[in-house]
């Protein structure tokens, strides 16, 4: 299918390498993130990184891209975004595990293009934080212009959103916008919702097992009703689904770790986890990751002890740490800048800072064999910047996803005037006809 299917019908003629071509990017400073810096060339073949080295011979038929001394880095992975979806919250109930972001992916959302233009090539599109157990999330590649199915990161482990604290208890706190007061209204109740849900999930799991056993014995037995609310929770219990839990305060973080341990599953990431630094030891011991903001704080009471050193402290404690945007809450175009801020707040090295938005979130999503660093064999998700990407003066020039150019700054700039001219012409054409004027002299 035409890759511009979902885009404007304007016919642009990009002078860019097409999908599937062999591409040699030369004259680049290559920041692999995991294997140091290599000044030289990078070869893309069949959408994968085929070779990296000081000198790489261009195979016959390869398209050469001159990086002009710019920097190559791995495509950015945002472990928490609300982009490219037609719905974010099923906020009516406290356990909404039956809903799936994948059902409502919207590849025509302009935020995908904007994120891509900032070097983000993979996003974990999460359900919102309106309820304790939210919906199923979807890891997508930012393949702007493709269909919803083509956006999905094939092979990424499924996930689910949990949320704790002020957002989920708000509806029970009396200041809600609905007429219904929703349980829970306290952090105690939040724990209860989690434990009740997994208690139900265990019972459902047993019911299914029992059915299989009795069926195997040849008994005449009704199959249990499929419960789309409990099925994903059973997957969590079985370690087949990753839990990404929105949380703020250290008490609730610890509560969730203990509740998960009680039911024998792991929390994969603590999302935001603004007070994670206070319980970093416990988090490391549980094996959860932390995906936090760079410097957001004080926007609500539970964010009053948020500190921009959170990422640095968690990293130091041995916690797998990443930075996320919660886009559109903060923007994907500032994610590199967020990484750079850890150099002021915590004095991280370049590789440490870059790992927060590349290999670490990739590990948190368990897709690090595919993305997150520039290594031979990985997907050719690559960002070209003119200056060092941790400098705020750098601009993203080109972005490759699976070896295909999905963003090109020069092309973007060229298209701006075309688009605005087309928009102007169309709004003229579609202007509603003015009411018929009275004829002069008419009586």
């Amino acid at each position: 299918m035409n890759r511009r299917l979902f885009l404007s019908t304007l016919a642009f003629a990009p002078a860019l390498p097409a999908a599937g071509e062999t591409i040699l990017i030369k004259n680049a400073k290559i920041l692999t993130v995991t294997k140091g810096r290599i000044d030289g060339s990078l070869l893309i073949r069949d959408g994968k990184i085929a070779e990296i080295g000081a000198t790489v011979m261009a195979p016959a038929g390869a398209v050469t891209v001159d990086a002009a001394g710019g920097f190559l880095m791995p495509g950015i992975v945002d472990c928490h975004a609300h982009v490219g979806a037609d719905a974010i919250n099923e906020g009516t109930i406290s356990v909404s595990s039956m809903v799936r972001i994948e059902d409502v992916l919207a590849p025509d959302d302009i935020q995908i293009y904007r994120g891509l233009a900032a070097g983000v090539t993979t996003s974990n599109v999460l359900h919102g934080s309106a309820n304790t157990i939210g919906g199923q999330c979807s890891v997508v590649k930012m393949r702007w212009g493709k269909t919803a199915t083509q956006m999905v990161f094939a092979g990424a482990k499924p996930g689910i959103k949990f949320a704790l604290g002020e957002n989920v208890k708000r509806a029970g706190g009396g200041t809600n916008f609905s007429a219904t007061l929703r349980y829970p209204a306290t952090r105690m109740g939040v724990e209860d919702v989690v434990r009740e849900a997994f208690n139900d999930a265990r019972a459902y799991q047993r019911q299914r097992d029992e059915y299989q056993t009795r069926l195997a014995k040849g008994e005449r037995v009704l199959p249990p009703r499929r419960d789309f609310k409990l099925e994903p929770l059973v997957e969590v219990l079985e370690g087949k689904r990753l839990v990404h839990a929105h949380c703020y305060r250290s008490d609730e973080i610890l509560m969730l770790l203990r509740a998960a341990e009680e039911f024998g599953f792991k929390i994969r990431t603590l999302q935001h986890g603004l007070e994670a630094y206070k319980v970093a030891k416990e988090i490391a011991k549980h094996g959860a990751g932390v995906s936090t903001f760079s410097d957001s704080w004080s926007y609500k009471l539970e964010a009053y002890d948020a500190i921009p050193y959170n990422a640095a402290l968690c990293m130091k404690a041995g916690v797998l740490t990443s930075l996320n945007t919660d886009a559109p809450v903060t923007q994907q175009r500032h994610l590199l800048q967020d990484a750079a801020k850890t150099q002021r707040y915590g004095q991280l090295t370049d590789d440490e800072a870059l790992s927060l938005v590349t290999i670490n979130p990739a590990k948190q999503l368990m897709i690090e064999d595919r993305v997150g660093s520039l290594e031979v064999g990985k997907d050719a998700d690559i960002v070209l910047t003119d200056k060092h990407p941790l400098s705020l003066y750098a601009k993203v020039q080109k972005v490759f996803v699976d070896g295909e150019v999905y963003f090109d700054r020069e092309q973007d700039i060229r298209e701006r005037s075309l688009r605005s001219a087309r928009r102007k012409a169309l709004s003229e054409k579609l202007k509603p006809a003015p009411p018929p004027a009275q004829k002069k002299g008419a009586r």
């Binding site: 037609d86 009516t92 039956m98 809903v99 799936r100 789309f228």
Partner: protein, 404 residues
């Protein structure tokens, strides 16, 4: 097309059509010289003759017991037992349009005046809105008007946000529909097992919400944007239901997708346009402008790609305006021949009614639309319609005010 011919109708059916069909001696002759006779026009997704608004309010999830709380507050508290799909909210799947049909409603005469003879009406605005029925839009008793009582289950997407109970969001609605279809499968299996030999088995509960779903021969899902066309095709396939989409504002982009899976689509004749009383300073995005510009070219694209489609009245308030709206599609490249089919034969085929309506063939129901010129010519007037063999002259329309 026959440039000149005779049609013989008897007992409400077409008896013969042809250039030189003999006119039976006992026939009452309607002179048609200079007139164009078309198969009766069909509105493929209609509310004509149906009460508008929700059929009945969605059942609110029952509040669970919270003994320690004062009674007033108790009503407002949603407990852990918080409803969800099993409560079957926003579901009137068992309701049939045929059972709601009211021949006195003014839209019926107005539609007839505009040349329509038949409507596929759908009730309500719930997620499971209910079952559509095909009926002729003339008569004094609903039971005489109905051609087929259950032609499909319509899903709508009333996104209500946080306040109105589950499901409140688009994805909530989708997962709710998914659960209902899974429940329906389970219900069928349980009933089958129980019917074989009830002894030793728990009795499956009576569930009319599932009965309504099971009784529906096809599923209608809404899809305007290309993204939605793609999404709903996949969802329909997942549910393993014969699928019809409705909406189609961006069918000019989605024709290839639809052709690939052979899914028909009903096209809303209310073409997307700028909001009335819009802020003149708000500049619509290019994406929206392009959709507005190209929406009427969708039918031509569908025809070219070989997708079956039909027109429906949708948000067009006055049936008299429908021909103008159809003409836009013709001006955007749709052949008159296909346009006519999208008003007659195609809707009949999509809903499995083509052995009864949709074309002028011997044996079919005598529904005719007679115009003093070309159907797609603005100046041509509907002279009369024949419905179930009865001739209806355009009558003065009741003004909406007088009917409130």
């Amino acid at each position: 097309m026959l440039p000149s011919g005779n049609i013989v109708l008897r007992n409400g059916l077409i008896e013969a059509v042809g250039e030189s069909v003999p006119i039976p001696a006992e026939a009452f002759v309607v002179e048609g010289a200079g007139l164009q006779v078309y198969p009766g026009l069909i509105d493929a997704l209609s509310t004509w003759g149906l009460p508008t608004g929700p059929v009945r309010p969605a059942a609110a999830p029952a509040p669970g017991p919270t003994p320690a709380t004062p009674a007033v507050l108790e009503q407002r508290i949603q407990t852990l037992d918080d409803g969800g799909p099993e409560e079957r909210p926003s579901n009137t799947s068992w309701v049939r349009a045929a059972d709601l049909l009211d021949p006195r409603l003014p839209a019926i005469a107005a539609a007839r005046n505009a040349g329509y003879t038949t409507a596929i009406g759908f009730p309500g605005t719930n997620v499971f809105a209910g079952q559509g029925s095909a009926y002729n839009i003339a008569g004094t008793r609903a039971r005489q008007m109905v051609i087929e009582d259950g032609v499909g289950q319509m899903i709508t997407l009333p996104v209500r946000g946080f306040g109105g109970g589950f499901p409140g969001s688009l994805m909530g609605i989708i997962s709710y529909v998914r659960q209902i279809y899974a429940d329906a499968d389970h219900y069928k299996a349980s009933q089958a097992l129980y019917a074989k030999d009830p002894r030793g088995l728990p009795r499956p509960p009576y569930d009319r919400a599932l009965d309504g779903v099971i009784a529906s021969p096809r599923l209608l899902l809404p899809a305007g944007r290309l993204v939605e066309i793609d999404r709903m095709i996949r969802f329909g396939q997942e549910l393993k239901q014969p699928l019809v989409l409705y909406g189609g504002a961006e069918s000019f982009r989605g024709a290839a997708l639809l052709a690939a899976v052979k899914v028909p689509i009903l096209i809303n004749l209310r073409w997307p346009e700028a909001e009335r009383d819009a802020d003149p300073f708000v500049k619509d995005p290019l994406r929206v402008l392009e959709t507005r510009d190209l929406a009427p070219s969708g039918p031509a694209a569908l025809a070219k790609a070989g997708v079956k489609f039909a027109f429906y009245s949708g948000g067009v308030e006055r049936p008299a305006d429908l021909r103008k709206a159809i003409k836009k599609a013709v001006d955007a490249g749709l052949s008159k021949e296909v346009a006519l089919k999208a008003l007659t034969l195609y809707p009949a085929q999509i809903f499995g009614l083509d052995n009864r309506v949709g074309s002028l063939e011997a044996g079919k129901i005598a529904n005719l639309t007679v115009i003093d010129g070309d159907l797609f010519d603005d100046r041509a007037k509907v002279k009369f319609t024949i419905i179930d063999g009865v001739k209806y002259e355009p009558a003065p329309e009741a003004t909406p005010e007088s009917n409130r």
